[in-house]
Symmetry: C2
Subunit: 330 residues, 2 copies
């Protein structure tokens, strides 16, 4: 008898957005099913009402009741009060449903019942409306697992971008940077990447300013913060170049000179990743006791109401495949 | 008798950097010579000493003395005190030579003796050391020509990125943004692009913050400045979407949805352009009475001393070809 495929949990995210659709599409994807037994985690009644045209949903009370029947999509039922949910906009009910599903999935992962968790998108607004003290999935997962530190690593094809600050207004990035935080973030992620590679990964650290500050003419953060962080990282044995101008760092990463780019702010990483791989950006949480990935896009409320079948689940499929790679130590 | 090819001026930029090499290489490039009579503008003695292995330099006192002999590179001689120049670092002599060459080229362009000017890179540091009150070529050209407003449009392949702020520390971008400046910059560039296209160009305007501010959760500039600017532009007849998250805007520009991206800060435009076209980014100055382009890279002091022959003049060749397109109204 062949070894059973691992279970893979996929939360539905905010049900008012594209989450249920992309999660269900990924759970039906042959490439995913070849490697795992995918289980959606969320409200099964809502799923059946919303997506009955796309699959046969099989609700489970416990994961062992998984049905391997072709065409069937298994759902670990996490009931949520979604009777008056309005598609296509943030609201408390959507945020609350996303949190419940995430808790259920985290509990499966903690008990090693699933190999990894893939989370469909939630919006910061709906989380806030639901009263969550955590601005996003990443912070919520850190709190749920008691992780001391988590990092957001964005992956697309062979590219890797670590976001050393995350969801901050751009004007606040400069004062939030510190050499200590840069060092801690890169070291944690370096250890994470080393688990998968024979050689230490080759990093490049971006500067903050145009031309990485042009020797102080265009800003002082490079001299005061970024360069000292780079030097401390090199002393600690991290194989790292920089700080380099961000455009140069990314061009050289795309050309294969580096394995990962350490980015000082959200768009410094997201712009090149999305431009090169518009449909395949995956968000990986580094620092959790188990593997979690998600598609690197938002709820896409604008598509959720009428056009969800035109939306592309590729990033969620990519998130599943990368999660399985990571769970297998690849 | 066939119509004579137009003259094209190429300044040497900072002679301590890669400028002389990339300019001379572009002036010898068959694709450039097929369409123009390229003339280097700078110190002919320095060029001969430095690059005698790469070409036969023919010094001109006036442009009419151009030699069409194959293999010969013509140089409009602008003597500069470069006897003690040290290759590979910024210094006053290098900045001063770049300014003299630019003045000479601007004078040729003003008298319509050249179809366009392509400038090799200068560093902000050497300009400052030379006592220039202007931080870069673009500002210097605005002063030389009396242009009321100039814009920096970056081009690479089919991509166009307008940089609405330029060489500013990142932390200062937020307070330097204004709806009035965004509107003026996009309108000037829109008029420039319309000269070349039958249909009005399709613009997208980027937001400043992650997720374009996520409805105010991640910054307020979108609501206060960027959205009002977008609405004013649409009222003025500019075909423009946005503000969109910058990663989304660039992904859709790369996919062909837009003709140009209006970027709020330097790296918002430079990162995707350099990542997609590492060797072909061209800087176009919008708002001058004549055409000026330059390669979208710096002096590369690190390569200038010993490794200049390994450097790639592709961006300067691209700058020449785009300058000729623009001069011909293409």
């Amino acid at each position: 008898m062949p070894r059973a495929l691992p279970f893979l949990a996929l939360t539905l995210g905010d049900p008012a957005g594209l989450g249920p659709w992309v999660a269900a599409a990924a759970a039906r994807h042959p490439g995913v099913r070849r490697r795992a037994r995918p289980v959606l985690v969320g409200d099964a009644v809502f799923l059946r009402q919303r997506l009955f045209r796309t699959a046969l949903f099989h609700p489970l009370k416990k994961i062992e009741d998984y049905s391997a029947t072709p065409g069937v999509v298994n759902v670990l039922n996490v009931p949520a009060p979604l009777g008056s949910l309005v598609l296509g906009r943030p609201q408390a009910a959507g945020g609350a449903a996303a949190v419940s599903a995430l808790r259920a999935a985290a509990s499966l992962a903690a008990r090693r019942q699933v190999a990894a968790v893939v989370t469909a998108p939630v919006s910061k607004e709906s989380l806030k409306m639901a009263g969550s003290p955590h601005p996003g999935h990443t912070e919520l997962l850190a709190a749920l697992t008691g992780a001391r530190r988590v990092e957001m690593l964005m992956a697309a094809g062979p590219l890797r971008g670590l976001l050393l600050t995350r969801h901050l207004p751009l004007k606040d990035v400069s004062r939030r940077l510190s050499a200590k935080e840069i060092v801690a973030g890169v070291r944690l992620t370096d250890a994470f990447l080393r688990k998968k590679t024979a050689k230490p990964p080759r990093w490049v650290l971006c500067g903050l300013n145009p031309h990485a500050g042009d020797n102080g003419l265009l800003g002082h953060e490079e001299k005061r913060v970024v360069r000292p962080a780079a030097e401390a990282l090199r002393r600690a044995g991290v194989r790292l170049e920089g700080p380099l101008p961000a455009d140069n760092a990314w061009a050289r990463h795309a050309a294969g000179d580096f394995d990962a780019v350490a980015c000082l702010y959200h768009d410094q990483g997201m712009i090149p990743l999305k431009t090169l791989y518009p449909k395949a950006v995956v968000n990986v949480t580094v620092g959790l006791p188990w593997v979690r990935t998600s598609p690197g896009h938002g709820t896409a409320y604008d598509l959720a109401k009428d056009n969800y079948l035109r939306a592309d689940p590729s990033a969620t499929v990519a998130a599943c495949l990368l999660a399985l790679d990571l769970a297998e130590g690849k």
